[in-house]
Amino acid sequence: MDATIKRGGGYAKQRRNKLLFYISLVGLPSLQFVIFYIIVNFNSIALAFQSYDSDNAVYFFYGFENIKQVFVNFSTQSFLPAAVKNSLICYSFTLLVGIPLAIIFSYYIYKKSFFSGGFKVFLFMPQIVSALVFALIFRFFTDNAIPQFVEMFTGEEADGLLSLPETRFGTVLFYTLWAGFGTQVLMYSGTMSGISDSVIEAGQLDGINSFQELIYIVVPMIFPTITTFIVVGFSGIFINQMNLYAFFGTKAEYADYTLGYYMYSAATEAGPAELPYLSAFGLVMTLFAAPLTLGLRWALNKLGEKF
């Protein structure tokens, strides 16, 4: 009898301890999620329907006026449609150029080919060094070193790539791709290293070459990771500021704006009167981005099932 009670007590204690362990493990992250996501975003969403009374320094309910103003501004402020275009260019470039290149480099590293370790260092460098420092180094290279090279070889004076309006956007786009490359390569090569050797060996026994191995074995095996990058990238179309802030602070030219940069730089300089409009702007972007992101995820998951 005693033994039974003891067992029962021990079981309850074990459950209680497990529960305590579980709570201590997830409690803090949950609390952080509640405070820094739910409460903060709730405040932001509420702000979208408010306006600021500067005389009394209080916010008051303003209905859908801020939301309306966002749509009005899209038709009257020409930089906003241009910013949408730039945001889409940035995502398309990352999708069509960045991801394939990252997969190829990851495969090269995965196969431990010549100088793959060196490539690793070069590609991960932007992730190791502070973003601002790296942008500074890059800027020095594009605006000091390159003009000097041009002068050395052509004898003609040249301006830097970030100083010329014709090359500025393309240069920042290239930097964005490069700066984001490391994370992708790290993830892809990590996933590739998890592919069973026997699968690769089976392919090799069937006589496939490296290209076929990449296309028919590696890519399908890492497809969930590719899906993640595509979906996460898509959800961030409207918040990607394309490193413009690192290069130009809040003074990037309108022609180079992305929607993410617009919101980021505007929020940096906004007073209490401007914050409701920016909240409404963010809300409208979410209304567009959320269903499209979920739709894309669904489509990619369907595609993934075929592999």
């Binding site: 000091n144 301006d159 003074k251 906004a270 209490p272």
Partner: protein
């Protein structure tokens, strides 16, 4: 090999962890809290004029109040300084209520909004106290400043340091190369003096000699351009005849061109014409307003009174047009500014260094677009230049350039929006409130104001005399002091509701939206992008800045 790798990994990990244990930037690294003393925390913006001046105040205050008790059981005060780059702008107003600091010295804040939102403790008693040597602070602050500082008839802050931006010129270079206009425009040298001995023109103020009544020396600007044609001729003369590059500005911050704009506009618009851009009220006085352009492209100017209802006219001030015209003229001539001014990698400190060394190394640059604090910022570069070049680099002489005037006198406008105040968070702690007020009042004693200027070379927006300390300032700092105290200074801030509601639109600051325009449906953020990169004219830019009466009434005007 593995051992070395392990050691390397441990070293890297140690470096990463070092940051966690590093002492935060504060004035008393390693010092323990003395429980027998009242603790006072003071936050300050770490940029701008820095905070070594505040560390000196801290030492003097602690010494002077070593035997004073602000709370039962404690004697003396222990002051802790908390310098942060985030203590400026909107960021501070969002975190004030949870900030431990009782007193703040900050810049670029929306003062009126902070006061109205209850972030600041009322300090009317400090401002009006007559115990202060030299009279109450209220009696030593200019009327327009008092108007701006009053919120519902009460004071919540004091003016902190002043920052004047404009066009710095190398006085030594001007003297050496005799870059002055002659009293005789037909002297055979294009109107420029042949040598330093030749009689100079009357300059922008149109007068010379010393006023026997006021003692003001009108000859200080003799030989400088009095018209915009003369100014353009000077640029040409420098570049073409003297092989001098007229301008340098940081390519990384092309917004610094706003300093050229502001310098020209201040000289034409005068004090009233600048102040009205924040008050929207010319107090019944007429100002030069551009109402259009004639067939030759010249501005049509009419005299108009500006009222809050017609505040949109501030965007049509003639001085602003002439300023844009000069900016366009400079940008149209690539030889008028250095190559580094185009390069995005050139920072403001790079520009300062290039400017300091330019005339010493035989590639002179005449003008630097900067602020009154620039010599403090470039202190190390000056020291280095003396080590590199020798005695020739000592005692350099710079000053703000006097531009042609429009008949309203000239002015200097403070663009720091710097204030000091007490955090309202401490309002229920009477002992701490008393300590904080005592400390703030201490900082504004006549002697402390002088010490501040001695340490930083920069003035505080309160009236005080420097005495012998004046002679310890550099030539440039003396020039700033003389100019601001002589011709008067103003700031482009006001408590006008239209202004406080749309401060980002109307604040004439390099980083505000003041310069945002749309020309031919294309938006531009800087004069450089519109004029240099896209060939837009000053007239186009100017007209794009205008606000029509309907938009003014519907969007901006607040009663």
């Amino acid at each position: 090999m593995k051992k070395i790798q392990k050691l390397g990994a441990v070293a890297l990990a140690a470096i990463c962890c070092a940051g966690v244990f590093a002492f935060p930037a504060c004035s008393k690294q390693g010092e323990q809290v003395d429980e027998t003393k009242t603790q006072l925390h003071v936050g300050t913006f770490s940029g701008g004029v820095g905070y070594s001046w505040l560390e000196n105040v801290e030492k003097r205050f602690e010494q002077d109040y070593a035997n004073v008790s602000f709370e039962p059981g404690k004697t003396g005060v222990q002051v802790w300084i908390d310098p942060q780059s985030s203590y400026s702008g909107i960021a501070l107003s969002q975190t004030m209520k949870t900030n431990q600091n009782a007193v703040f010295f900050v810049e670029q804040v929306y003062y009126t909004q902070m006061a109205k939102s209850g972030n600041l403790l009322e300090i009317t008693d400090i401002v009006q106290s007559t115990d202060r040597e030299g009279g109450s602070l209220e009696s030593n602050i200019l009327d327009w400043q008092l108007d701006e500082l009053k919120v519902n008839g009460k004071y919540y802050a004091l003016p902190h340091y002043q920052s004047f931006t404009g066009v710095v010129y190398d006085v030594d270079l001007f003297e050496k190369e005799a870059l002055y206009l002659s009293a005789d425009p037909d002297n055979g040298n294009g109107g420029f003096v042949w040598d330093r001995e030749e009689e100079r023109s009357l300059g922008p103020d149109g007068k010379t000699g010393v006023d026997p009544e006021t003692g003001y020396d009108y000859s200080a600007d003799d030989g400088f351009p009095a018209t915009y044609d003369e100014l353009k001729a000077l640029f040409y003369y420098m570049e073409d005849e003297k092989d001098i590059t007229p301008f340098i500005f940081p390519g990384q911050h092309k917004t610094y061109l706003a300093r050229l704009f502001k310098g020209v506009a201040e000289a034409y618009n005068g004090d009233l014409g600048m102040r009205v851009q924040a008050t929207f009220d010319s107090n019944g006085k007429q100002l030069d307003i551009v109402t259009g352009f004639d067939n030759n492209g010249d501005p049509i100017i009419e005299q108009k009174v500006i009222t809050p209802e017609t505040g949109y006219l501030v965007r049509q001030l003639a001085g602003n047009y002439y300023a844009l015209d000069i900016v366009e003229h400079v940008l149209d001539n690539e030889d008028y500014y250095t190559k580094s001014s185009r390069q995005g990698s050139s920072s403001q400190t790079d520009a300062e260094e290039e400017y300091i060394y330019s005339s010493l190394e035989g590639e002179p640059i005449a003008f630097l677009l900067e602020g009154s604090y620039w010599e403090s910022e470039a202190r190390e570069k000056f020291t280095q230049s003396v080590m590199d070049i020798g005695a020739k680099a000592e005692n350099r002489n710079f000053a703000f350039f006097p531009f042609p005037q429009g008949g309203n006198g000239t002015t200097m406008t403070d663009s720091a929006s710097a204030y000091s105040f007490i955090n309202a968070r401490i309002k229920d702690d009477t002992n701490l409130v008393n300590t904080a007020k005592e400390f703030l009042a201490y900082c504004y004693q006549e002697q402390e104001l002088v010490e501040f200027t001695k340490e930083t070379g920069v003035s505080i927006g309160v009236q005080y005399e420097l005495g012998d300390v004046y002679n310890e300032l550099t030539n440039f700092q003396q020039s700033c002091w003389d100019s601001s105290r002589g011709m008067g200074y103003s700031a482009l801030v006001s408590s006008n509701p239209t202004y406080t509601t749309s401060q980002a639109k109307f604040a004439l600051l390099s980083n505000s939206n003041y310069y945002d325009v749309v020309i031919d449906s294309e938006p531009y953020k800087t004069m450089y992008a519109a004029m240099k990169e896209n060939g837009k004219t000053a007239a186009q830019y100017f007209q794009a800045m205008w606000i029509d009466s309907g938009t003014w009434t519907g969007t901006y005007y607040k009663q």
